[in-house]
């Protein structure tokens, strides 16, 4: 209800297009466009009003434009039922979207050198970030990677907005063969990077954070944790994150993130409740061997 918070809209689809291996949908959503800050995402209802697909699908906002009163675009690849339904949308269809959600990427106060690292569809949120950084006078260098050439997202745009753009593919079909972290050190040295921003799978974020650590620079990472509501209600999207007070908490990726400081995320413990996390069961409670699993509503 507050002016700056997320809104829910039934937004007309303006365009549907293909961007390499991705589908891109642009919807008219002025209230979302005007609130948007880079790093935030949308939660899109799929399957129609009576659908058995109950959960919204989260997608990073890839682009925001002022035309038609404010449009936002997201990119996706077809994975399962929800994204295949989305891939069939046509212009003028209505999409129920909630956004902008999540904490945006923090922007540096001064013009510094930023390296932006993306894996697969995780490249999507880095484009509005690059524009925002450029507007602040920052130097931007891209390192974008994917499994195959057509999954490297928006390579041409990357070359245009950044000082340099380095590409990696696991099969070597485009750019350097290997992973984004392989050339990352060299890019950091050449560009004299001060900060890294990254989005992609958890393993990649861990690796980027390790490289950034080695260069004693901060990393801001955006996690793609699976989400049921996207609005902070359900507690499904938790990751173990160390707070300012040194205490680990299971925090919600959708509202406390998706952007976190890399060194604060306990990557090795994702998918577990670390024994020292606030409210973790003591060793005694852990000996029940999962017998208590099940309903325990909540």
């Amino acid at each position: 209800m507050s002016d700056s918070g997320p809104v829910q809209m039934r937004s007309p689809v303006l365009t549907v297009r293909r961007v390499d291996a991705y589908h891109a949908i642009t919807v008219v959503a002025p209230n979302i466009a005007e609130r948007f800050r880079s790093g935030q995402f949308l939660a899109v209802a799929v399957g129609g009003e009576q659908s058995g697909l109950l959960l919204r699908r989260p997608f990073a906002i890839h682009d925001v434009k002022p035309d038609y009163g404010g449009t936002v675009e997201f990119l996706f690849s077809v994975r399962g039922a929800g994204t295949s339904w989305l891939a069939e949308r046509r212009s003028r269809d209505l999409l129920d979207v909630v956004g902008p959600l999540g904490r945006p990427f923090p922007l540096p106060r001064d013009p510094v050198n930023c390296v932006l690292v993306g894996g697969g569809s995780g490249c999507a949120p880095l484009f509005p970030l690059a524009h925002a950084l450029r507007r602040r006078g920052c130097r931007v260098d891209f390192v974008l990677g994917a499994a195959t050439a057509d999954r490297v997202c928006s390579a041409i745009t990357a070359r245009r907005v950044a000082e340099t753009a380095t590409f990696t593919t696991e099969d070597g079909s485009f750019g350097v063969r290997g992973r984004v972290t392989d050339p990352l050190g060299q890019v950091i040295e050449d560009a004299r990077s001060d900060v890294a921003y990254a989005c992609g799978p958890m393993g990649m974020l861990r690796a980027v954070t390790a490289v950034a650590d080695a260069y004693e620079m901060p990393a801001q990472v955006s996690v793609e944790e699976s989400m049921a509501c996207g609005t902070g209600i359900c507690m499904s999207c938790v990751v173990p994150v160390v707070g300012d007070d040194g205490i680990t908490r299971m925090v919600r990726a959708c509202v406390d993130g998706p952007v976190f400081r890399g060194e604060r995320v306990r990557f090795d413990d994702v998918g577990t409740i670390p024994f020292d996390a606030l409210g973790a069961p003591g060793w005694k409670a852990q000996t029940d061997g999962g017998r208590n699993a099940g309903r325990e509503a909540g």
Partner: protein, 315 residues
């Protein structure tokens, strides 16, 4: 003419029968960005426990046809922080606060009830009985009528008499009517029905349970017929015990259905995840449908399905 939406839930009066279900409204703050909480009949908080709790490992949810499986493990800040931070916030927004409590023993529940009784503004205590009872080899309190009654009795005895105590039951128990009766005899002022039911999904890629906890709680429209059936059976057996019905409510029509089965109020759960403004929409839809049916007082709808044909609606 518009219908009178007010209902009496035991001694409590609600402005309308639409509530947000426990664990499906966050602390209220998250939902308040989409729904004016003061307009709802009540908001049930996520079950609060004595101590902070980190919950279960992820993945915690899986989507199933028209539903979801969840095993959050009652992650929460504990009663202290709840009383300092969450409850005052909800009250400041004009929310009618139903506080859900959960524990591992009757004395934990009693202690929570005692703490809540010292606060002003708690409209109702809802006792979440779907918690493992370590003394009963980890079975839920709700699985055994005697254990459930023990908890309800402990809570009632430690709660100020003007705060109603509702017992929240799970649908997949051996003897639902027996359980409901035991809770009523232990002086529960009413019943909340239903909680999630045990289920499982297997990830076809790994052939392992899709939710880390293994068995998880099924909720959403998939369980609605089961939930309506539970409300119907218990209302038939205990017509004087007020019931808050829930389980897969998605539209205003679903609210009518629960009320006709015997619920006095109806809570919206999982559908809040799919549609964060669902509570407001459902209230609007419910209002429209009672109006178009010429219902004078929506309270007259309660139990309509139990009445003989032709006498169903208070026209």
């Amino acid at each position: 003419m518009s219908s009178d939406l007010r209902i009496k839930l035991g001694r409590m009066e609600l402005v309308n029968p639409i509530m947000a279900a426990a664990g499906c409204a966050g602390t209220g703050r998250e939902l308040a960005r989409f729904v004016d909480l003061a307009r709802l009949g009540a908001v049930a908080t996520k079950s609060v426990m004595l101590e902070p709790r980190a919950g279960r490992p992820s993945p915690r949810v899986a989507e199933t046809p028209s539903g979801m499986l969840s095993s959050i493990g009652l992650q929460g800040p504990g009663i202290e922080v709840f009383l300092q931070r969450d409850l005052p916030w909800l009250l400041s927004r004009g929310g009618n606060a139903v506080v859900s409590i959960a524990g591992g023993s009757a004395s934990e529940y009693a202690e929570l009830a005692r703490r809540l009784s010292e606060e002003t503004g708690v409209a109702m205590i809802e006792v979440n009985l779907s918690c493992p009872n370590p003394a009963d080899s980890g079975r839920d309190f709700t699985d055994d009528p005697a254990e459930a009654a023990r908890v309800v009795h402990a809570v009632r005895s430690h709660t100020q008499s003007d705060i109603p105590v509702f017992a929240k039951l799970a649908p997949d128990v051996p003897d639902l009517v027996g359980l409901a009766t035991a809770c009523a005899e232990a002086r529960a002022d009413g019943l909340s029905m239903v909680n999630t039911m045990r289920g499982m999904a297997i990830d076809p890629a790994t052939l392992r349970p899709a939710v880390a906890g293994g068995l998880a709680g099924l909720s959403g429209p998939a369980i609605r017929p089961i939930a309506v059936g539970c409300v119907y059976r218990v209302h038939a057996a205990l017509p004087d015990v007020p019931i808050i019905g829930m389980g897969g409510v998605r539209t205003g029509t679903d609210v009518l259905e629960f009320m006709a089965a015997g619920a006095t109020a109806v809570a919206v759960g999982t559908v809040n995840f799919a549609d964060p403004s669902a509570c407001a929409r459902i209230l609007r839809e419910f209002e429209e449908s009672t109006e178009s049916r010429g219902v004078v007082r929506v309270g007259d709808l309660v139990g309509a399905a139990h009445r003989p044909h032709g006498a169903a609606l208070g026209r």
